[in-house]
Homo-oligomer: 463 residues x 2
C-alpha cells in the first residue's frame, strides 16, 4: 500500500492526507458503536481532486468510505476494522457557491455544514428548511446520502424533496454533472434520485443544488397536552384543516420523556405540572406577524377543545419548548444505554403501533421503559427502549427488542428506518424486512454503478 499512499500524497496537498493517529476521529462513529480503522483519510479540495482520488482507489482496488460530518447514527460513514479502506472526507469542500434568490436555489459543496447553508439562505431572505439536532456539524453530502429528515419534513419534505441537482463522482472516477436548478425536468430517468439515500454506496456526492423557500417572518409555538396518540392525530388533522400548511412541525412527546428530562436535565424549564401522558409540540410558520399567528393558533386549539395548551408568548419561550424536545436524546444519553429505533408508519397507524408494540415489550421485559417521541406529522417516531434493571449487559437485549419493534413496524406497514438510513446498524434487518425482489433490484443497480464494489462496502447490504 506504500505505492498507493505515495500516489495519494502526490495527488493532494500536505493537509490533504492524514494517516496514523490523525485518522482516529474519523474512524469512530458518533454513537461510539463502530470503531473502525483506515489506511488514510483523504481530504480533497475540489471535485477534480475527488475524482483523482476515486480513480486511484479504483486502480488499486481500495475501498472508499465517503464521510461528511461523521454524524451518522447507523455507522454509515465509518470504515470497518480491517484498516484497508480509505476515508474520503469532504470537510474541506465546505463552500456555499451560489444563492440564486430569483430561482429560490442554493448551490453548495458537499462538505458545507448544514447550519452554514441555512445561514446563507437567511442572508438572502430565504429559508433552507432542513433542520435537525446535528445542524451545526453535519454536512450536506451526508444529509443527502442518508436522505435526512428532521423537524420540518411535514411541510417541506426530506432532503430528497429539497434537492434539484447533484454532481457526483462515480466509482469509475468520472464526474457526473447533474447540477441543474430546475423544478421541472422530464428528460429520461432521474439519476439523482438514486444517489440521494444511497449512503455512499453508488458514488460520492460532491455538489448540490437545493431548494429555497420564502423566509417565514411569523412563528407560533405551543406545547399541548393530549389524552393519547389518537387525540394527537386528530389534533394534527384539525389544525391542518384550519391553517393548512402553516403547520411546519408536529412533534409527539410521551410522559416518560418528560420524566427523563426532569431527572437528567433539571435546569431546563419544565412547564407542565402535573405531567401529561402525552403532549405535542406544534409549530406554525407564515409571513406576517407572530402575534397574529399565535392568536390564530390559540383560537384553533380552543375550538379543538385543548384545555391544557401552553402557548409560547415570545420567541424565547418558543425556544424553551423546543429545547425540551431537543434535549430528549441528551437526557437518554445521561440515563445510560438505550436501544434506539428510528421508525415510521402511516400516520393513522401510530396509535395502534404504540399500543401494540408497548404491550409486547412489557410482556417481554417487565422493566422496559419506552421513550417514544418524534415527528408525528410524518409518521416518524424515535422509539427507544431501556431497562431500569441495569444488571444486564450492554446491548444484550438488543436483538430481542429489535425483533419485537421491527415486527410490529412491519405489521403496521411501516419502515425500519425513517430518516437515519441503514448503514452498518440495520443492514441485517434490511435483509429481513425488505422483500427479496427489491433487494435483488437494489443489488443490480449497485452492480451497474460500482461493479468493483469499492464504494462504502459493508453498508446497506450484508454481502
Amino acid at each position: 500500500m506504500k505505492i498507493f499512499l505515495d500516489e495519494l500524497n502526490y495527488l493532494l496537498d500536505a493537509a490533504g492526507v492524514l494517516t496514523g493517529k490523525d485518522t482516529a476521529a474519523y474512524c469512530l462513529d458518533q454513537r461510539r458503536r463502530y470503531q473502525g480503522a483506515a489506511l488514510a483519510v483523504a481530504r480533497p479540495r475540489s471535485s477534480t481532486e475527488v475524482a483523482a482520488v476515486v480513480q486511484l482507489c479504483a486502480r488499486h482496488g481500495v475501498a472508499i468510505v465517503p464521510q461528511g460530518g461523521n454524524t451518522s447514527l447507523c455507522g454509515g460513514a465509518t470504515p470497518d476494522a480491517s484498516g484497508a479502506a480509505l476515508i474520503l472526507s469532504l470537510e474541506r469542500m465546505n463552500q456555499v457557491l451560489e444563492v440564486d434568490a430569483d430561482n429560490n436555489t442554493i448551490t453548495v459543496e458537499a462538505g458545507a455544514v448544514l447550519a452554514d447553508v441555512q445561514a446563507a439562505a437567511r442572508a438572502a431572505n430565504r429559508l433552507f428548511p432542513a433542520e435537525w439536532a446535528a445542524a451545526g456539524s453535519c454536512r450536506i453530502g451526508g444529509a443527502l446520502a442518508t436522505n435526512a429528515g428532521g423537524v420540518n419534513v411535514l411541510r417541506y419534505g426530506n432532503m430528497r424533496e429539497l434537492t434539484l441537482g447533484l454532481e457526483v463522482v462515480l466509482a469509475s472516477g468520472e464526474i457526473w454533472n447533474g447540477l441543474r436548478g430546475l423544478r421541472k425536468d422530464n428528460t429520461g430517468y432521474d439519476l439523482k434520485q438514486l444517489f440521494v439515500g444511497s449512503e455512499g454506496t453508488l458514488g460520492v456526492i460532491t455538489r448540490a443544488v437545493l431548494r429555497l423557500y420564502p423566509l417565514p417572518t411569523a412563528h407560533a409555538t405551543a406545547l399541548v397536552a393530549v389524552d393519547d396518540p389518537t387525540a394527537a392525530v386528530d389534533l394534527l388533522r384539525g389544525v391542518q384543516a384550519a391553517v393548512g400548511d402553516r403547520v411546519t412541525s408536529f412533534e409527539l412527546i410521551s410522559r416518560p420523556c418528560f420524566e427523563l428530562l426532569a431527572k437528567q436535565c433539571p435546569n431546563l424549564p419544565h412547564p407542565f405540572s402535573p405531567l401529561p401522558e402525552w403532549a405535542v409540540l406544534v409549530e406554525l410558520s407564515d409571513g406576517g406577524d407572530s402575534h397574529v399567528l399565535t392568536d390564530q393558533l390559540a383560537e384553533v386549539l380552543h375550538i379543538m377543545g385543548c384545555d391544557h395548551a401552553l402557548l409560547a408568548q415570545n420567541s424565547r419561550q418558543a425556544k424553551d419548548f423546543w429545547r425540551l424536545r431537543e434535549h430528549i436524546p441528551e437526557a437518554q444519553r445521561r440515563e445510560g444505554v438505550s436501544i434506539k429505533h428510528d421508525i415510521s408508519v402511516p400516520v393513522g397507524n401510530i396509535p395502534a403501533f404504540l399500543n401494540e408494540c408497548g404491550h409486547q415489550l412489557q410482556l417481554a421485559f417487565n422493566d422496559a421503559v419506552i421513550i417514544a417521541f418524534g415527528h408525528l406529522g410524518d409518521g416518524n417516531l424515535h422509539y427507544n427502549v431501556f431497562r431500569t434493571d441495569k444488571t444486564s449487559a450492554l446491548y444484550a437485549d438488543e436483538p430481542m427488542v429489535n425483533d419485537i419493534v421491527y415486527s410490529c413496524v412491519a405489521d403496521h406497514n411501516g419502515s425500519i428506518s425513517a430518516e437515519h438510513g441503514i448503514g452498518q446498524l440495520k443492514r441485517h434487518h434490511l435483509a429481513k424486512y425488505r422483500n427479496p425482489l427489491e433487494l435483488a433490484l437494489m443489488k443490480k443497480i449497485k452492480q451497474v454503478f460500482d461493479p468493483a464494489q469499492i464504494m462504502n462496502p459493508g453498508k446497506v447490504f450484508i454481502d
Copy 2:
C-alpha cells in the same frame, strides 16, 4: 402470432382483447402525429392479469406499449407502425382503492382518471393537487410515467413529489409491491423514483399511493398586467415574500396569446383593453374565506405597484380568467399548425431566455409568431412558434425552429422537456442535449430492468 393471440385470449376475458379496427383509437396519439399499429390491445382488470400478459409477451418476445388515457403530447403511449407490439391498456383498472384521511393518502389503480382521483380526495375533504388540461381523460399511470406537472407544481410539486408508493409489473412479469404510504422511508435505494418519469420503458405501473393535502377553502385569483418578464419574476418573489406558499399558481401570458384568443375564441370574456404586452395569472389558496384572501392579494398587488390588476370578485370570474389561460392551446389548434416546446429554465433566466430566443427566431423567420405562456413559477414555458406565411409545408421548419429553441434552452441551463416527457417526439433531441455519460447510465439501468428490450421500445432512447 396466432399462438400468442390465442394465449392472450385465454388469459383475459372477452372484453380484454381488442384486435383489428377496434385498436384504431389506441394507435393514434392525441396530437395526431404518430399513427401506429398494434398486434392487439390487452385490457387486463388486475395486477395479476397485467403480470400474466407481460409474462406472455416476455416468452414470445412481443414488445409492450403501456397506455393510460393516450393523452401523451410526445407520442409516448402509441406503438410504432410495424404492428408487432401489444398495447397494454390500463383503462379497466380505474378504481380509487382507498382514501386514508388520517394519513393524507389515496391509493389508486393506474387506470384511474385524474379527475376521479381529485373527486375522491375532495369527498374526504382533502386535495389531490395535480391539475392540468387533460384531467378528465388522462390516467394516473400515464401521469406517473411522464412525471406530469401542471398548474399547481409551484406549491405542490410534480407527480414525483406527490407519489409515496408504487406497484409495478416488471418486464420479467414479476410484481414489485412498493405500495407504501410513508413520508419517511430510508431503507436502501428508492426504486419508485426510477419508474416515475420512465415513460413505460422500465415496467408497467399498476397501482400507486399518492399524497393528499388539506383542502383549501379560500381562493384568490388575479390577472395582472406587467411590463415584461423581469417584472413578472419580481412580482412572483414579491407576492411570495408577502403570502408565502399560498401562491399555488403563477402563469405567464404574452400579448400574442391574448390576440390569438380574441381571434379564435371570441366568445370568451376578454377583460383587458388595451391588451398588455405581458400578464400573469396569480392564484392564491388557503383555509378560511375567499374574500379575506382576495383582499390580501389586492393589498399585495397595490403595494407592489401593479396598476393594471384585475381581481376576480367571485369564483365565476376566477373561472373566466382560468378559461383564458386554458384556451390558449385550443386557440392555437384553430389557428393552424404550430411547433411546440415544453421547456424549462431556472426562473431567474426566463427573461433572458425569452429575449434571446425570440430574437434568434425573428432573425431566422421574420414572420414567426411566438406563443409563449405557462408556469413561470416553476420556470416552465410552453414556447410555441408558428409562421403567418402559411405556404410552407407542414412542420417543414420544425428542425430549424427546434435547433434554435433547444440551443437557447441549453445556453440558459434549461431542459428540453419540462413536463411532457420525451416519448418519440424528442428522443433525438435527448440524445443531443443530455451528456453521453448520463445517457450511458440510463441505458445501463434500462438493461437491468428490461434486458430483452420489450418495454415501450422506440421511446426515450433512439436505439
